[in-house]
Subunit: 893 residues, 2 copies
């Protein structure tokens, strides 16, 4: 028997189910699920993602099995819908849509109204009795098919869309402004002009054979999996290139057949705030794309979401279909046990459901919905914990506008995606990217956004649009990204040429500073001061549940008492990495550091180090105090010494003057410290081996601070960590120094302190020989930044040059510096843990690279059996949640 | 029962045996062995190497067990020798000597004549009836003990030895030149002056208690394991620091008691040439150190090694002891089945053996002795193969003086260590090091050498001495190092102050060029042309045996037809690494390469690459032809592009002029290619991924050359190797290009070529994911240079700054870039082989890093199951022999 490539749905039956997303894509799986629940879904079928891989492997050809199954699929649709594909009288029209395993809204292609030609268009006019509808559908089809399949869409943004030129010229001729003002004859003329334009540009006749139209569209949709915007979106969202998309072929239903027709999108709860009310927008006499594209501003679906008394809700205008919709949405939320994002069309009074999926939401909404669903008894705590994307919490943790600050609100729009953003106005997505690349905070301001703006939206601090609703492209994408967005701000006039935006009499130019409050929809002049966020309310509740569930401890990377306190408030259970070198730059210290570097001998170095001792001791005192009762891991000096010297002539002269030496001496020292590959040079414990007096000073500073606090009755747990160990002998060498000094200081000060000496595991050789290293180490902490650099042979500072190309070509699917490479680097981590514990079964093991705050990496650390992860203060709650989720996934296995 | 720390020998019995070197050191084990064979050995005992470790751990203290066992040891010596330690009438004197598991001649300390004080000296005078002997022994003891134990030896070379100053002043007062001209009274005065000098300098009285003398000497010898020259020697000879030395305490016998006494050293065969005759030197009325130190030029032991009819041989002067010595040497060679290096003393007509060991020999001698011993039926072929140090073959493989060349021989000395050397004269060891460090070829010219010259001797191309025989320090060390040496060149007058050497009327200054022929003992003016060496005679025979025994194939790293031919003549079985980038620098090519780098787009790059294509094809044609019938592995472009651009202003201007562009453009490109860590940057396959046209051009050049030769009837086996793979996907990307081009070219040229596409394994991640990589790779080749850099996190270019200190402190024992680090890097190699073959059981695997020519690393490659090693042409025979030895060791297990 042939393999199954095509899965049917419709007429209350379905081959597929909701859990078959990998094969059918999200859209296809959920259409099947709805059909199985006897919810009215236009009949159709899904061509599976397996065909997508084959499509690319075989250069766009289909096997006979696929062709046969698609034919059969169309004939089943014909039976259910009682129409015939290509029939002159009762013609079945089809839609062809993409549908990947993960949602990629608007990134791939769609063709609607497929099956129309000069004969069938007459059939549907006759059947619907609506000539305008017939020609409007036909011209839409030609426009879409021309763009998507026949390559009519201009490649450059400067060039205008040839179809839009024709529409514009007809409107001008007729003296009308809106598409809806064009007559059936106008549209008929448009069809004819469109066809000639296609012939002129491509040399091809527009295809009349419905089957040719169908296969052209299916191939175009598969092909759009690898268009540039889809690739960018996948990269931003870590969607693997090899998944591929499914293609959904479905009977058309029409929201644009007249005033008893409508189309809309809705959320079963508010996706911005999480409030528990049915929430949506619709347009009368329109096709679905019109709502999402933001061309006409849609109307609220019901009273409770009305913002203006003049608005007409669906509830009022079509109460029958609305009631049916309410029953269906409750049914769907109850069935999926999650907030749903639904699309519907009403054709001549009959409601059809076109899509359901778990709705994208802000982090705040995700938390609120999860906690409230537990209260409603819909889900349990474990499910609630698993419902919130840990990465999204980032939105809740960053500073918000100070409510007490003075602010000049210049206008208000829809609160499309919450958050507080301050930045400089930029009007084009590519310019936003340029500005951001040179370090500017930018706000992207557009009349409306489109999928090709994705890059600029991603780098913008916030997004402001003049048109479009809560479900417009800008709003949906911004919420997905956790970027603050104010949408549909009608008072705003944007002039792209002049690069200005005008509100009333106020004109703002490119580069001017404004602020956006995405939770209130406010647009504010200038900058607004911010305050720290807090873990309270639903968020606090959820984090409490997470703490009960997780097994990993979560520490923070912090070099100051302030950061330590912030992290502690976010739930940090200690410091996993305190870098001592950051302290070397402050105030007078850098002078002492430079004195040490310039010294010709040990005696000279000791004199300079003596000056640093006091400062370092004070630093550690502050940090230990802030972290009382919790462990604090302090890393000895790590970076190469040249990092402490100026490299530009001007600064070298300043240094020479300050130190009272000649510029030549400074230059000579800088030269002598020059290295070809500083990453692989004289740094980490290698410094401590050649200059043991540095390690001595640091050990003394740590222990003096610890002893002092112990005397003051404060409990401190210093963990002294030696970096860049590649051999056990290096650790022995450094540990001997640390232990000697630590014992001396305790004796001098007459107190005992619980301290440990351990090591970073960041050199592949340390991981491979971890059994030996563990003979000396009292703990391990994985430095996965360096470990990743060395395991891949990439320098983070240089790899940008080729890594972009690596993502584009699918050589790498994720940035290994962001998410730990489990396949390669992960093996070294596992080897080191196994070998380390073979020597010391209870060896304490953690991670302090940036991966410690990345949810997928945290999950790996849990599975690998680490004791803790350590991350930046703002990522502590993210790591707590990620750790809890992995513990639950393990439990549920 | 207490552990055994002290091992006795003497009186025809012994606790130890020859195979206990690890515990007893070489000297101790062989003294025990000789004693067990009933050869006359002065009684003594060995304090084991285990005590050396304890000595360092416990800060120089000894356990009670050690103390007791030493006491017992002395009493056993007393019994056997019939004397008593410290006795006033019949006093036993002792020697205390080092003895490590590996021979470290002259590197550690020795104390002789121990047990003397004002009372015992009178006893031995009375007993020997020789007052001069008594006082001479005593002053020697004070001098040695003062230097070794009491720190009288000046630390700086500039400062004169205080004892030598006293000796000199007495000689002056007496108007004599030689030590032997001093009378008993002179020596008695010397003893008294020595003691006062010690008191003056150290504040201590010279110890009179024999036991205090004994323990002081034992501790000094243990302590000398870590003196600077010993450490340097260990590093040069890869002797681990943790082995430690044993200490031999032995009854003194005296070669300096009168004219019926003598001392000498001998080899059972000629250590320079391997000729099968008893060969040695002796001095009448002398102690052993006098022979080795080269103070008096010793006499030949027998007629057949006499170079001058006036010399008096031992055979003539003391025929009885000589005959006994002949019997013993034959016995020893027969027993050890190897050429022996022996030391003996004749005390009043009685022969005592002080040492036997396998003699150091030149590579030529090693080969000849091994092959001849097989002919003599003394050893089998396998043993012969294992007898020759593969590393030493290097001496036989390098060019020798062209016998047809004109040369002006200015004088002749002893052919102490064979080889041909040309270089500039330098008179001090430290200056030799300085000159060599800046790239000069130097010849070290000394009146005589001493252990502290070891560093300079190591960097010198050749060594020339005015004094000393075939067993002098210079000769022994030079042979050990495989450095050419002409010794005892009596016509030579050296003036260290003026930095000149004079032969007759000719004066040669520091920096003048001379040449040394170490096989003939010739000193030649100026430079002499050289010719390639050949594998013939005994060497060819031995290599033939090795080839039968080995399992590993041996290939070469070669980038030119010339090198390929040299390597083929040395037995290379293919090319394991042909670097394509070296070809990029020749002639016009660099211009085309730079054109490619400067090009703004693919089209520009293709134009430039088209120019390179012809050159590359011609290169490969030449190499394939030289290597007909054998496989040739070609690596695609590896280094970062900036390496092809000039970095200095001057050269940049030249390039700008040549290319007809501005200096600024050149600088801008250089800047844009600048990387912080180029080792970890845009190089290797990363270049091929971003510029696929480079890979295309190279694949085309390779395949066009291969197809052309195939048409001409020459068999070629190209193996195209992609460098710096870290993920399977990179290999897929590059292999796709190579295979496409290869198929195109074969079609165009109408022939089929057997080609393979494989990869370097040089990135840790490639090793860790070798199972995946092997899905694409048709072969693996370990690039252990980069793999070592990444596994340790060391940059070869920068690590010098701290690695010297790492060796000094014993953190590393071997240079991991010279000998593969089996503990760390070796694990990755083993993982990669196991995983690679789990995917493809017959995967061809080799190594092409520099380790491929290092004997220990070759042995590892054999054990790891590789198919071949590849090394530089001159190391091919070394690798062949090393591979054979490891195969035999495996067989013998």
């Amino acid at each position: 028997m042939a393999a199954k490539y095509v899965y049917h749905f419709g007429g209350g039956k379905a081959d597929g189910k909701a859990d078959m997303k990998e094969l059918l894509g999200g859209k296809g799986a959920n259409l099947a699920e709805m059909s199985g629940l006897d919810i009215p879904v236009p009949a159709g079928f899904t061509i599976s993602t397996a065909v997508c891989s084959d499509f690319y492997k075989s250069d766009g050809k289909y096997s006979d099995d696929v062709v046969d199954q698609v034919k059969e699929g169309v004939s089943i649709i014909e039976k259910i819908m009682g129409k015939k594909f290509g029939d002159t009288e009762n013609s079945l029209l089809l839609s062809v849509r993409s549908g990947a395993p993960a949602s990629m809204p608007g990134m791939m292609d769609t063709v609607l109204n497929l099956g129309l030609n000069e004969t069938t268009v007459k059939g549907i006019i006759e059947k619907s009795g609506n000539e305008r509808f017939g020609w409007d559908s036909y011209r839409r089809f030609i426009q879409m098919y021309g763009n998507v399949v026949m390559g009519m869409k201009p490649e450059s943004k400067e060039e205008e869309d040839p179809f839009e030129i024709i529409i514009h010229s007809i409107k001008e001729k007729r003296g009308v402004e809106l598409d809806t003002d064009l007559t059936a004859d106008d549209l008929k003329e448009m069809v004819s002009l469109f066809k000639s334009e296609i012939k002129k540009r491509t040399g091809l006749d527009f295809p009349t054979d419905p089957w040719e139209q169908l296969w052209g569209s299916v191939s175009a949709v598969f092909g759009s999996w690898n268009n540039q915007q889809a690739k960018t979106y996948r990269k931003l969202n870590n969607i693997p290139a090899h998944w591929g998309t499914a293609v959904n072929v479905q009977a058309m239903v029409f929201g644009n057949m007249g005033d008893d027709c409508a189309t809309g999108v809705a959320f079963t709860r508010d996706p911005a705030t999480g409030n528990g009310q049915f929430y949506g927008e619709y347009l009368i006499n329109a096709q679905g794309e019109d709502v999402v594209a933001g061309v006409r501003t849609p109307q609220p679906i019901n009273d409770s979401t009305k913002s203006d008394p003049s608005q007409e809700t669906l509830e009022e205008v079509m109460s029958g279909p609305y009631k049916e919709l309410v029953t269906i949405y409750k049914n769907l939320e109850d069935h999926y046990k999650d907030m749903q994002d639904i699309e519907f069309t009403i054709e001549q009074g009959k409601l059809w459901m076109l899509q359901t999926r778990s709705g994208k939401r802000t982090a705040a909404a995700a938390v609120k919905i999860a906690v409230e669903m537990v209260a409603e008894g819909m889900i349990d705590k474990d499910t609630a914990i698993l419902r919130v994307d840990p990465e999204s919490l980032d939105q809740l943790l960053h500073p918000m506008f100070d409510p007490k600050a003075d602010k000049k609100v210049i206008t208000t729009g829809l609160p499309a995606s919450p958050g507080a953003a301050t930045g400089r106005i930029v009007f084009h997505a590519d310019e936003a990217e340029e500005w951001a690349a040179r370090g500017e905070d930018v706000l992207l301001v557009r009349t409306e956004t489109s999928p090709e703006d994705i890059g600029g939206m991603n780098v913008a601090r916030g997004i402001l649009t003049a048109r479009g609703g809560m479900t417009s492209h800008a709003a949906v994408v911004a919420r997905g990204m956790g970027t603050c967005c104010v949408a549909g701000c009608g008072d705003l006039k944007i002039n792209y040429k002049a690069k200005t935006m005008t509100v009333g009499n106020n004109v703002y130019k490119e580069g001017d500073w404004i602020s956006l409050d995405g939770s209130k929809g406010e647009v504010i002049e200038g900058k607004v001061p911010t305050i720290e966020s807090e873990l309270s309310g639903d968020f606090g509740t959820l984090m409490g549940w997470a703490d009960e569930a997780r097994k990993l401890n979560v520490r923070t990377n912090s070099d100051t008492p302030h950061d330590s306190t912030v992290a502690r408030n976010f739930g940090a259970e200690g410091i996993g990495l305190c870098r001592t070198e950051h302290m070397f730059f402050e105030g007078d210290r850098i002078k002492a550091v430079r004195e040490m570097i310039l010294a010709d001998d040990e005696a000279g170095r000791r004199t300079a180090l003596a000056k640093l001792l006091k400062h370092q001791r004070d630093d550690f005192y502050g940090i230990f105090k802030a972290m009382h009762d919790l462990p604090v891991t302090i890393r000895t000096l790590d970076p190469p010494l040249h990092e402490f010297l100026p490299h530009e002539d001007e600064n070298q002269q300043v240094m020479a003057d300050e130190m009272g030496i000649s510029l030549e001496e400074v230059k000579a020292k800088v030269d002598s410290l020059h290295e070809f590959n500083p990453m692989l040079g004289h740094r980490g414990c290698r410094l401590g081996v050649t200059y043991p007096e540095i390690t001595e000073m640091q050990a003394r500073a740590i222990m003096e601070a610890a002893c002092q606090l112990t005397k003051e009755g404060v409990k401190v747990y210093p963990e002294i960590m030696i970096p860049l160990i590649g051999t056990k002998n290096e650790l022995t060498n450094q540990k001997t120094i640390v232990v000697r000094v630590a014992e001396e200081v305790q004796k001098e000060m007459g107190v005992k302190v619980d301290y440990m000496v351990g090591t970073m595991i960041e050199i592949p050789r340390a991981a491979l020989t971890a059994d030996k290293v563990a003979e000396e180490a009292e703990f391990f902490s994985f430095g996965t930044n360096d470990l990743t650099q060395l395991t891949f042979g990439y320098s983070r500072d240089d790899a940008g040059k080729f890594l972009a190309e690596y993502y584009d070509r699918g050589i790498l699917e994720e940035d290994p510096f962001q998410t730990l490479d489990q396949e390669g680097v992960g093996q070294l981590v596992e080897i080191a843990i196994e070998k380390g514990r073979s020597t010391k079964p209870n060896l304490k093991i953690g991670i302090c690279g940036e991966h410690g705050g990345d949810p997928k990496s945290v999950a790996f650390c849990h599975r690998a059996g680490m004791n803790y992860v350590s991350c930046s203060p703002y990522r502590v709650p993210i790591a707590r949640l990620a750790a809890a989720q992995e513990a639950l996934r393990e439990k549920n296995k």
